[in-house]
């Protein structure tokens, strides 16, 4: 096992350029993404029916003190048109003493906007120091009041993006590194290894450990960057954090083995990896919350996607400090997928079936 493991590293170190580039690009992107995630503002379209122009502008300026949102002026017909065409998910009607939402489709930033506006309007009233009545106050708060913990939502969302992107990128790196197996398959060195009396268990363990470690280093570095440069917090449940990452990476290496075993050439694999990585990131919730995927077929499909459980378990640990018993089902899925993919991969790689 160590023979194979050391050999892979030796080869990697002889040609480190590709890996390093890949690694560097990943880190660059992750950094950039993390930063834009925390400093980028969400644009919000607004319109008004009863505010005068100067009052409207003043209100917008005041609202834009926020570093979370950027409120923009528009008018009712324009936003209605855009909502109808699905170009906009919602807009806000701003009035003197209250606001309301025009909603086309639900959006995760809407509750955040609502919360922010409620706050501002309340404060405005407070400062104006008019005498308040109970019924007045009700006016500020939009009609359908739901008790969502919006602050929690925001952290949840941010975590999901940070974790999702990290896992998405590491999936890329690991799978692309595993192209080396496909290359060995075509140049005959793989067969030479398989024909040796070394047990296949040992060969696969060595390979597994190698790719696992590459992934682990990358995730580790990404997380360090997030905490050090961007100030993202991963909570303090390090044990479960490590366990989640490890189980996810294990499943990804197994997935890689399966893909390698099913293709004939490295070129095919090169074509397949982006498709698999991106599709599973989309369906597994790396780019947007899983609630956005509503197609039943796709939802079923998302059940066999490791990144889904990787994101779920990691965000649960980070945001909620979830305990082992809450994570067990996610871990179970990851282990089951590892076994499934791994078995297929090892079966077809051990001996050519033709």
């Amino acid at each position: 096992m160590w023979t194979v493991f050391m050999m892979q590293w030796k080869r990697l170190l002889k040609q480190p350029f590709v890996v390093l580039t890949f690694f560097g690009l990943t880190l660059l992107f992750v950094t950039f993404l993390g930063q834009s995630q925390t400093t980028g503002k969400v644009g919000v379209q607004t319109y008004t029916d009863d505010l005068s122009n100067p009052a409207y502008t003043m209100l917008i300026d005041e609202l834009n003190d926020s570093d979370q949102f950027e409120f923009r002026q528009s008018d009712r017909t324009t936003v209605e048109e855009r909502i109808k065409n699905n170009q906009l998910s919602f807009a806000v009607e701003l009035n003197e003493a209250s606001f309301s939402f025009l909603v086309g489709q639900s959006s995760f930033s809407q509750p955040l906007v609502r919360e922010y506006l409620t706050e501002v309007y309340q404060e405005k009233r407070w400062l104006d120091a008019n005498d308040l009545t109970e019924s007045d106050l009700n006016n500020y708060i939009p009609l359908e009041t739901t008790s969502v913990d919006t602050a929690g939502d925001s952290i949840q969302y941010q975590t999901q993006v940070v974790v999702g992107m990290t896992l998405y990128f590491v999936m890329y790196t690991v799978l692309f590194q595993m192209m080396s197996i496909a290359e060995q398959k075509t140049d005959g060195t793989w067969e030479r290894m398989m024909l040796s009396p070394v047990s296949k268990m040992k060969i696969f363990s060595g390979l597994f450990l190698h790719y696992f470690l590459i992934g682990f280093i990358q995730v580790g570095l990404s997380f360090v960057i997030f905490t050090q440069w961007i100030g993202f917090s991963f909570g303090n449940h390090y044990g479960l954090l490590l366990l989640s990452i490890s189980l996810f990476l294990t499943a990804i290496v197994a997935l890689g083995l399966m893909l390698v075993s099913l293709v004939k050439t490295p070129q095919q694999l090169q074509a397949v990896i982006p498709i698999v990585a991106t599709a599973s990131a989309m369906l597994g919730g790396a780019f947007w919350p899983l609630e956005f995927v509503t197609q039943p077929v796709l939802l079923i499909f998302s059940r066999i996607i490791p990144i889904r459980y990787g994101i779920e378990t990691l965000s649960d640990v980070i945001v909620r400090g979830a305990s082992m018993s809450e994570l067990v089902s996610g871990y179970g899925f990851l282990i089951a997928l590892t076994v499934l993919f791994g078995a297929i991969g090892v079966f077809f790689l051990e001996r050519k079936q033709g």
Partner: protein, 310 residues
């Protein structure tokens, strides 16, 4: 020692190997001969347990080697048709790795590596990266990598393809030495008749996935005892003369070569006389006329009606 029985392999709708049976006895040197695409490599891969056959058996020392490949894998050295080495590493590092896979380590491994390097004549270049080697040197290291664990059986898939004559004869001598002095059982694959003739005690000829003939060299030549090979050397080529030869009922093959024609015909007393007559009629100047013992090339031609390297 090692045998395969009724081996077949289909790839989708192509049947690459059909019902092939081969036997290797201990200490023997056996040739597997056939044109491109005959199914030699496929047969060898199944024989070395690297490829699962569609049907058939691989038997090593009376045991089913497909179910229990370990013993065979331990005793087997396979030289693949393609260079199976890590190009970015040096020859030495490659040998180190493959040696370890066979359980060699420490001093024993180092000694063994030096030994095989000397055997293939590359001791002085061992630290160079394989990708900087010439084709012939790569081939030699490719062989060296299969010799580290003192295999009892050595299976070689066209180890001399695409290299200069010098490297080629070096390799052939090496194989002969391994077989005769180190008593390795050798299965040697090639589409070069001369190599197999020179090297092998027994020969199997494959074509289109089937074994079409087998036996010692003289067994195979005897297949042609009803026929005769005549070398007709002429001053210049003459199309009409060739057509006349081909039209003769008793002549089965006419093969044009640089200096003349090779004629395979039924054995009969007046054949040479007739050949003189044809030459006279078509004004062809003969420079030589000779009856030859058939080569394996001729045997293949006889069996398939095709030249081996077409």
């Amino acid at each position: 020692m090692l045998e395969v029985q009724g081996l077949s392999k289909s790839f989708k709708d192509l049947q690459a190997v059909k019902d092939v049976s081969l036997t290797l006895k201990e200490g023997e040197s056996v040739g597997l001969l056939g044109p491109n695409g005959a199914g030699k490599s496929t047969t060898i891969q199944m024989m070395s347990t690297g490829l699962t056959p569609t049907s058939g058996q691989v038997i090593y020392n009376d045991k089913d080697a497909l179910k229990n490949p370990k013993q065979l894998r331990r005793d087997l050295g396979v030289v693949p048709q393609d260079i199976a080495l890590y190009e970015e590493l040096s020859a030495y590092e490659n040998l180190l790795f493959f040696g370890r896979l066979y359980g060699l380590k420490g001093k024993a491994l180092k000694t063994k590596i030096e030994e095989v390097l000397a055997l293939v004549g590359l001791s002085d270049r061992k630290k160079d990266r394989v990708k900087n080697y010439s084709g012939g040197m790569k081939r030699r290291i490719n062989i060296a990598a299969s010799l580290l664990h003192n295999p009892k059986v050595l299976i070689m898939d066209e180890p001399t393809v695409g290299i200069d004559p010098q490297s080629r004869s070096y390799i052939l001598d090496l194989i002969k030495q391994l077989n005769k002095e180190n008593h390795m059982t050798v299965l040697y694959t090639s589409h070069y008749m001369e190599e197999v003739e020179k090297l092998c005690d027994r020969i199997y000829i494959m074509d289109h996935g089937e074994v079409i003939a087998s036996g010692t060299k003289s067994d195979l030549q005897n297949l042609m005892q009803e026929e005769e090979t005549v070398w007709v050397e002429t001053l210049e080529k003459n199309q009409a003369f060739k057509q006349a030869l081909e039209a003769d009922q008793t002549i089965t093959q006419v093969i044009e070569s640089d200096q003349g024609y090779k004629v395979i015909a039924e054995k009969r007393e007046d054949l040479l006389g007739d050949l003189f007559d044809y030459a006279k009629v078509h004004h062809v100047k003969l420079t030589a006329l000779a009856i030859q013992t058939p080569t394996l090339e001729d045997v293949f031609l006889h069996l398939t009606g095709r030249k081996l390297r077409d």
